[in-house]
Symmetry: C2
C-alpha cells in the first residue's frame, strides 16, 4: 500500500563498491554511501541493518564474480586452480576491499557458491567429507592470505625494498631473500605458491 521502495541491496552494493574503488576503504561510510545514492543517510537503514551489512554486500558481490562455471572434464587440481585464480582475479578488480574479505566471508551467500564449486572439485578428487573440510579451509586460508599479502605488501613493492635494505648483519637471510624476491611478479608468486599448496593436497590424498 505505501510508497514503493527506492533502493535495493544491489544498488547499495554498487554504490559502496564505487566509493571504495574510487576513494579507498577509509572513505566508506554510511554517509558517503547515502550521498552516492542521492538519499539521506538514515534512509539506508530501511534496507540494511548497519555498516556491517554494507560490507557484507560488497564481499558478496566480489565472490559472486569469482563463481565461474568450471569445465567438468578438467582434472580436479586444474579445477581447484581455476577457481582460486578466479577468486584472485575478482579481488584484483577491487583490491581496497581486502581487509573485509575474511571478516565477512562466512556470512556471504556469494562465497557459498564459490565454496560449493571448490568442494565439488575436491569431492571428485576423492576427498571424504572430513578431509574435504580441512582441504578447503587450507585453500581458502592460503588464497585469502596471499591476496592480502600481495596488496598490503607486495613482494615487488616498497616493503620488500625496506626489508632488502635492512642491516645485513642483523637479518642476513631476510636481506638476501628480499633482494631476490623483488624479481618475482605477483602472478608468479601466486601461481608458484598455489602449486605448492595443491601439491600438498595431492600428497595428503595419496597418504590415506
Amino acid at each position: 500500500m505505501p510508497r514503493p521502495r527506492s533502493l535495493d541491496h544491489d544498488a547499495i552494493a554498487g554504490a559502496a563498491l564505487a566509493i571504495v574503488d574510487r576513494d579507498g576503504l577509509a572513505a566508506l561510510s554510511m554517509r558517503s554511501v547515502a550521498a552516492e545514492l542521492g538519499v539521506g543517510t538514515m534512509s539506508l537503514y530501511r534496507y540494511v541493518a548497519g555498516r556491517e551489512e554494507v560490507e557484507r554486500l560488497i564481499v558478496d558481490r566480489v565472490f559472486l564474480a569469482a563463481h565461474i562455471p568450471i569445465a567438468k572434464t578438467a582434472s580436479w587440481d586444474r579445477q581447484v586452480i581455476v577457481l582460486c585464480e578466479a577468486l584472485r582475479a575478482a579481488i584484483a578488480g577491487h583490491p581496497a576491499i581486502i581487509p573485509l574479505l575474511l571478516v565477512r566471508f562466512a556470512a556471504s551467500p556469494g562465497a557459498w557458491h564459490w565454496l560449493e564449486a571448490l568442494l565439488s572439485a575436491l569431492s571428485r578428487a576423492g576427498f571424504d567429507a572430513r578431509h574435504r573440510a580441512v582441504a578447503v579451509r587450507t585453500l581458502q586460508a592460503y588464497v585469502i592470505g596471499v591476496v592480502q599479502s600481495e596488496y598490503l605488501n607486495s613482494l615487488t613493492g616498497e616493503s620488500t625494498v625496506a626489508l632488502a635494505s635492512m642491516p645485513i648483519d642483523d637479518f642476513p637471510l631476510i636481506v638476501e631473500t628480499a633482494r631476490s624476491a623483488m624479481s618475482v611478479s605477483p602472478d608468479q608468486e601466486f601461481a608458484l605458491g598455489l602449486t605448492m599448496v595443491v601439491d600438498g593436497l595431492r600428497a595428503s590424498l595419496s597418504a590415506r
Copy 2:
C-alpha cells in the same frame, strides 16, 4: 634538562594489549589507551605517531612472543612446523588482534625476527633465495589466513553450524562437509593443514 619521560613503547603496548584482551579490538582507542595508563589522551602523541603506531606496537609484541629458539638439530620441516605453531600459539593468547596482523606485519621488527628464523630453516632445506621468497610467503599467508579463519569463524563454531543447516538442495556439498567439519578441532585443523602446506613445499623442492 626538562622533566623526565613518564612512558615508553613497552608500557603503551602493554596497556593497549590489556584493553584489546579485556574489551575487544573495538575498544582500542587513543583515549582508552591513555586512560589505561592514567595519562591525558594527547600525552600519548609524545611517544607515538598515532593510532597506527600503537597497532604496530601490539603486533610487534605478539610476534616477539613467537620468536622462540629452534632446535638446530631438527629437520627443516620440523623447524618450520615448530615456528608456525609458535606463531599460532602467540596469537592464541590475544585473538582479538587478528585483524591487525597482516596489515601491520611488514612494519614490525618483531615479525622480522620470526621471519629470519623461518628463512633459516628453509635455507638449510636447500631453498635458494628466489624459491625461499615464495615458500616463506606461502607459509606466512597460510598461517595468518588460517588463524584468521579459526577465530573469525571456527570450524567448530556457529558459522559452521549455519552452513550445515542450509538448504541441502542448494549446497549439498557444503552441508555435508560442514557436518563433518564440526568434529575437527582447531588444533587438528591447523596441524593437518600445515602438514599439507609443508608437504607442498617439500614437493617443490624435489621438483627442482
